[in-house]
Amino acid sequence: MSEQSHGGPDHTGAVEHAGVEESGKYAIDNPGLPPHRPRLADEDPKAAKRAERQAAFLFGLSIVGTLLFFVGYFVVGQIGPDTTFATIRLQNMLLGLGTAFAMLGIGVGIVHWAKTLMPDHETTELRHEVRTEADRQVAVGMIEDIIDETQVKRRPLLRNTLIGAGVLAVLPAIAIFRDLDDTDNRSEFAAENFGPERLRHTMWATDVRLVRDPTGTPIKASDVTIGSAFHVIPEGLNELDPHEMLNQKAKAVVLLMRLNPEDMQVSPEREDWNVDGIVAYSKVCTHVGCPVALYEQHTHHLLCPCHQSTFDLTQECKVIFGPAGHALPQLPIRVNEEGFLVARSDFHEPVGPAYWERG
């Protein structure tokens, strides 16, 4: 295909086209548009009248739909404390049905009108090139002149200082977002409150009692029977200001279970972390943080509902299946003088998903 072979008023040939018609290119030459076949309504005034009535009927249906909407809105009426769920559902249905009829009536009506009555002759229009060669030359010339008139090429000092100033001027636009995290500005302990260090600490500390979530009742070791599981929070959590409460809870939630001590493998440094087989583990999945709280008693597995990470309680909550990359942190616990379960200390590692500074 020669570059210029198909030049014409619309095609200068400056851009190559695929498969431009050349006789003999394909097995048969392009036969042109098929003859137009008239529709019923084109020839028979009765059919045309019928199509008109059908479209009008659909528009009428749309009017009925709009009225139905009003019935739903005003007749079913105001909703409030005494409205039943069924009424709300009914109203919602009537609004939906009304709107649907109102819209479909208009839509189907117009399309029917277009298909039956408006001319259906396929027509042809020529494509124009996105650009012509002449335009390109003028445009490029212009741009070159513009650049030339600024003299930027001849005066590198101007160019370089401007680039430097421009790059620097962007930095404040980034720096100004620094206080998106303004926790350090708001608290007395500025330094501790910025950065990843805070992810290492939870509300758990020596002698903080384990209490039930959400009631806050403390738990006696004797309450925890084999096979049972308790959702646990640190005592005092519920008394926090609501926001602080959620932030702390997101890190501090714990699952408490009792196993038969013979079933458990306990590493030497964790020997005194359990109370006769009562163990406490962080409930925050080490994958990406959902609450891990499906406890399968028979297998001693903990399952996270989000992506099915499975942790084995008998092996200190090691990952045995799924995407989590490390074991659930264990909370060291003991019994205090009154027989309540308390923490020995905070967790010994950060809870939840891994992050760069975790180590």
């Binding site: 392009n30 036969p31 609004l95 950065g195 609501p242």
Partner: protein, 562 residues
């Protein structure tokens, strides 16, 4: 010439008067002249883009209604609205206002559901539209940039959906945010800080809803609108592509004029889409936020699903094994200043599959151009079967996506078919690796078979469904020749042969060029050539003995369909 003697045109009809008024002030005549009868090709597969546009309009309308009542505050409140089961429950103002929209504002529930259904359809329509463009090769020159704009729109659509999903601040959206938090934290070096900046401190904090809100109702929709304007502008500049067929060439557009037929059909279609969304919103509950309760980091919920378009990322997260035996994908890397952690088990599945999908998507016009060395303008679409390798690649991509998507429901699959969850995961992992290859091979075979069938039809006609007895007493099915109009569609595609590696200017073949030639061979080596003139003539001479009545060029013959 004195102005006093100039008689200005006086319109006589009302339409003329309005038109003249507008024209002399805004100069509309040239626009009407340009667009009034502009030709648009018509095909059912061109409607998906329209659906996307119309659902976006519906989103703008229903979303604006919601903003009048929704309060994106994370301040603490006690719910005292009409929904009794939650009466007196402590929650955020955002959640309470979303509940009020549902139970105390007439039509509010309807608008919420319309908004959510429209969002699901919006992303679905964009995706299907994009597949149509891919499989027909509409992304080729001169439309590459518009393809890129389209890919950007898809990503913006996902962003809009995700930010919206999080707004009601109930259990599900909180949990979704928590997952995002975990994924963000896995990013090396800056991840932890990004998370703090996002949430204004530690998760969940009290800033995130307000921040997502402004993204959701202003920034993202504005960007989408901007992209849509650019997208449609380019469609007008390029003019629409068309399928191959009689009368259609690379130099023309065949179709219906905007006024009146195309405008009527397209305008009517908007109302139809709206009607369908209204039906969905009226009859099918979506995101029943009142069932979930306020966000609390502690309770469990199994079997909950993210919106469908986020599913593939969630599924990828599920497919990744976190540990292999004693090896963990959580790497603790000792540095002189201390140990840092690389959470590959999260990072890889969150970034790599989506990264590959989007990179290949954005880059495909250039990838294909490099491989095929085809830099010509294309206005006639490929029938997918006539580009078997591209079609195969597309199907491979779809399968990969669908495996990840299915993985997001692995627990539901397991309970539904009563199989072990672990087995489902193992199978899906295998499919994740092998599925795309199998899909590619099968699709390519199917395309080639369809091409062969086309050849068969061109050469021997199509089966007419009539059994006839030959003079010799033999029974055979009568074959009818296609008329030229139908024939043309089946023969008018190029026979693309592999282009061997070409030497550069220095006469040497570069390594990259060798690689290109290899891909090129893979693209075109196996192909079914279109029927040639000679073959057709040859077949026709057979006809006289073979086919009792050649009905070529005759009207009223059974249609061959698309």
């Amino acid at each position: 010439m004195s102005t006093s003697t100039t008689t200005e045109y006086q319109a006589s009809t009302p339409t003329g008067k309005i038109a003249n008024f507008m024209d002399t002030r805004a100069g509309l005549s040239p626009m009407v002249k340009e667009f009034g009868r502009k030709i648009f090709p018509d095909h059912w597969s061109f409607m998906f883009g329209e659906v996307a546009l119309y659902t976006f309009v519906i989103l703008l309308m229903s979303g604006t209604f919601l903003t009048l009542f929704f309060d994106p505050s994370m301040a603490h409140t006690t719910y005292e609205g009409s929904y009794k089961p939650l009466y007196g429950v402590e929650m955020s103002v955002a959640y309470a206002s979303a509940l009020d929209i549902s139970f105390d504002i007439r039509g509010g529930l309807f608008m919420r559901q319309v908004h959510h259904w429209a969002a699901l359809l919006f992303v679905a329509a964009m995706s299907v539209h994009m597949l149509r463009v891919f499989f027909t090769g509409a992304f080729r020159r001169p439309r590459e940039l518009n393809w890129v704009v389209g890919c950007t729109l898809l990503i913006l659509g996902l962003a809009a959906g995700f930010t919206g999903y999080s707004l009601p601040d109930e259990m599900l959206s909180g949990n979704g945010l928590r997952i995002i938090d975990g994924v963000v934290k896995a990013i090396p070096l800056i991840g932890t800080y990004i998370s703090f900046f996002l949430f204004g401190g530690e998760f969940p904090g009290d800033d995130i809803i307000g921040r997502l809100y402004i993204l959701h109702v202003l920034v993202v929709p504005a960007l989408i609108l901007l992209m849509i304007v650019i997208h449609l502008f380019m469609v007008v500049v390029h003019k629409h592509t068309q399928y191959p067929g009689p009368g259609r060439t690379e130099n023309n557009v065949v179709g219906y004029p905007v006024g009146p037929v195309y405008a009527a059909k397209a305008g009517g279609f908007f109302f139809i889409v709206f009607g369908v969304v209204a039906l969905l919103g009226g009859f099918f509950t979506i995101n029943a936020i009142w069932n979930y309760g306020p966000y609390d980091p502690s309770p469990v919920q199994a079997g909950t699903q993210p919106d469908w378009y986020i599913g593939f990322v969630d599924g990828a997260l599920r497919l990744m094994p976190g540990t292999l035996g004693d090896f963990s994908f959580k790497w603790d890397i000792p540095f002189p200043w201390g140990t840092n952690t690389l959470a590959l088990g999260v990072l890889l599945p969150a970034l790599v599959p989506a990264g590959i999908l989007f990179a290949v998507m954005f880059g495909w016009p250039w990838i294909e151009r490099w491989i095929t060395k085809d830099n010509r303008e294309h206005h006639i679409l490929d029938r997918p079967r006539n580009a078997p390798t591209r079609t195969g690649v597309g199907v491979a991509g779809i399968i990969w996506y669908c495996v990840m998507w299915a993985a997001a429901s692995s627990d539901l699959i397991a309970t539904h078919f009563s199989v072990s969850l672990n087995d489902v995961t193992y199978w899906l992992r295998a499919l994740f690796v092998f599925g795309p290859f199998i899909g590619f091979i099968i699709t390519k075979r199917v395309c080639l078979a369809l091409q062969r069938k086309d050849r068969e039809i061109v050469l021997h006609g199509r089966e007419a469904g009539v059994i006839e007895m030959t003079p010799e007493g033999e029974f055979r099915e009568r074959h009818e020749r296609l008329d030229d109009y139908r024939l043309y569609k089946l023969v008018s595609f190029e026979n693309k042969k592999p282009i061997p590696a070409q030497p550069g200017r220095d006469g040497k073949i570069k390594a990259s060029e060798k690689q290109r030639a290899k891909f090129n061979r893979w693209f075109y080596e196996e192909r079914v050539a279109p029927v040639t003139r000679e073959e057709l003539a040859e077949a026709k001479t057979h006809d006289h003995s073979d086919v009792p009545s050649a009905v070529e060029g005759q009207d009223g013959q059974s249609s061959i369909g698309h």
